[in-house]
Symmetry: C2
Subunit: 145 residues, 2 copies
Amino acid sequence: MHDHHPFIETLRQREYRITPQREMIIEAVTTSGSEHVTAEEIFEQVHDKSSALNIATVYRTLEILVEEGLISRADLGGGQMVYATSHHGPHIHLVCRYCWQVIDADYDLIAPFGDALRAQYGFSADLQHLAVFGVCATCMAALEE
Amino acid sequence: MHDHHPFIETLRQREYRITPQREMIIEAVTTSGSEHVTAEEIFEQVHDKSSALNIATVYRTLEILVEEGLISRADLGGGQMVYATSHHGPHIHLVCRYCWQVIDADYDLIAPFGDALRAQYGFSADLQHLAVFGVCATCMAALEE
DNA sequence: TCGCTTATTGCGAGTAATTGCAAATACAAG
DNA sequence: CTTGTATTTGCAATTACTCGCAATAAGCGA
């Protein structure tokens, strides 16, 4: 019983059933070269190898992985959610709503805010993969000209 | 040529054309009793009085109002975006991803984060109507039991 | 190994929001 | 008031995602 991937082992321990679909999706999401993947990209990557997969299953599996804290999801505004494995470490995305450029910002900037929410409201905010919308320096300069 | 609503006047000054549809949508979004409205609610409210309106026009008009800074939009996670007029004042929504309860939090908590982003990255973040996802105190207690 | 139970999948329908394009119309100029 | 034209609208198609339900199959015990 050798499972090849720690995510599989974690899911098994938490009493999820290990299906070929889930194995393929986990394989795809964790071996992706880029930092962020969309559900559609995962679907295509897996579908190339095996046609036994439905897009709804991709969404449902990613949902489980997010709930179990193995991956994180962010809305970068391009009309699709993006997913990242948690071992990339917490980070913030600053998304410009004019040029759609994404700037990666230091997580430490938002950490005090998370602490304050926990202290004041008992609320544990998901800030490890936060997307913040706004206007970047370049576009701001262009607007003010 | 008396326009009744400051938003109309602002749009006219910025060289948008004033159509009956835009007037009705602005009327609906600003006279709504509740703090947040959805595009669908606005559409229904206006459609009751005049059938000359399409849902796509509602979305396009709201988009303009957001871009012009007259209203703000937030994704509270229920599958629908909610809109609020800016004069309600800045506020944060803490959305629990288990029970979907929404807690209104003090804007002052997030203000230092916005300042830091501006200082360090020249990025002007839209934080005046931010939705933050996480787990509320009640659900957290239930999970840890 | 063979069933049994229950989680999971695939499929199709449904939802909120966006977009391309032709028809309609706001508004300025004559 | 009429005309010209660029903007805006309505419509239909499309996208990203979700959901209900019947069929399938994972994992357990015998």
